[in-house]
Subunit: 134 residues, 4 copies
Amino acid sequence: MFIHETSLRVRYAETDQMGIVYYGNYSQYYEVGRVEAIRSLGISYKEIELNGILMPVTKMNIKYVLPAKYDDLLKIVTIVKEKPDKRISFRTEIYNMNEELINFGEVTLVFLETETKKVVDIPSFLWDKMKVFF
Amino acid sequence: MFIHETSLRVRYAETDQMGIVYYGNYSQYYEVGRVEAIRSLGISYKEIELNGILMPVTKMNIKYVLPAKYDDLLKIVTIVKEKPDKRISFRTEIYNMNEELINFGEVTLVFLETETKKVVDIPSFLWDKMKVFF
Amino acid sequence: MFIHETSLRVRYAETDQMGIVYYGNYSQYYEVGRVEAIRSLGISYKEIELNGILMPVTKMNIKYVLPAKYDDLLKIVTIVKEKPDKRISFRTEIYNMNEELINFGEVTLVFLETETKKVVDIPSFLWDKMKVFF
Amino acid sequence: MFIHETSLRVRYAETDQMGIVYYGNYSQYYEVGRVEAIRSLGISYKEIELNGILMPVTKMNIKYVLPAKYDDLLKIVTIVKEKPDKRISFRTEIYNMNEELINFGEVTLVFLETETKKVVDIPSFLWDKMKVFF
């Protein structure tokens, strides 16, 4: 299992007229969590793309427990529980400044070869960085 | 069961550097589908809010089958299968111009009294418009 | 001079906690105006890109007169006043349902050859559609 | 004159299919710059709103010099040159990791009393924090 933690400040742009973060913007917070989790392994998602691999999302689910609000400093916890194969699933948990779990969800991405657009196994240059956790 | 159909043009802003619609932007398409579905009943979501009811999202799940691309004219089908109570669930199906199902998902929203922030039953002014379908 | 008019419904996602459209989202409305203006000429911006031309923005200015609000049906007027050369400038005027001018601005884009990334004159396949207006 | 510097990582969501940051998203970067500049004074924009003042944007202009790209770590420099009165103007300069100026612009905001929606002078609780710079 691989766990990573980062933090993020809610932007005014991300709120809506209900006075809370718009429900569609959590996917950006999940992205920030994933990207920083991967970076902590010593490789960036940008480098993954430069190495000829794309990672489109194939499914997502989200539970909204409590609202995030403007200027909140959120804790984003990103977890990979299962060994990735052709797919990788990230669980994200978001906590507010009172350490309350306000939102959680799972995002599954598939490894695609950019050139052929074929689904492939997790590339070895990424797996080499992750295998110690599984 | 209540079904409604609308269409929507993909904006450049909604694409990402993968050349497809960013996975987080489908929630906006689902919103457009819901809002136009409600409008077709003879009431707008705006009026629901003006009548003292907020409808925050409590969960969402999405399956990404095929990518939507820039300038695609998408068909957004919005379906309410189950009789709403304190919650209402919308299924959304998105089709491209070749009538392929490219994306589908469910969003559940809860009825909240704006003033008290308490969960309440579907307000009668909305249910009166919908009950014929259930 | 070339003038085109389209309309657009404000999304919930586009509002912020001030209860109005977030100031950064007008650039999307301007994009919709430009894209539909070009389409009305008988060519789409998508086709322009497929023909090897990119049109990045080089400058923008916006005046915010009155706020746009959730669910407003806005009229987007797009105007090309000056004959395009290596650049094209679009003026956009946004009107609310009371015919009040609520927002206006100018966006300048440059014609770039996708392959060489060099600035080029307006491509003839586009100019041929526009020249009647100048 | 008041100058403040912060940094920000470009999100995948903020890119478009041109492979660069969408031109409309710089307004969010400007917002982050302003908000962190104000926070450095010992007050947050959130507190300004809690004290009954809203700050809607009345104009913006942007020059796009070079594109920002995915995963760039941008330096956001926020400058208030002129003494604020009923309005406050922020100049923002954005630099990439090679210290190149890639984007700059000005945003003017007005002080509004939330309750009356009337334009007012810069509130004293904010001016007291800023006056040392003018």
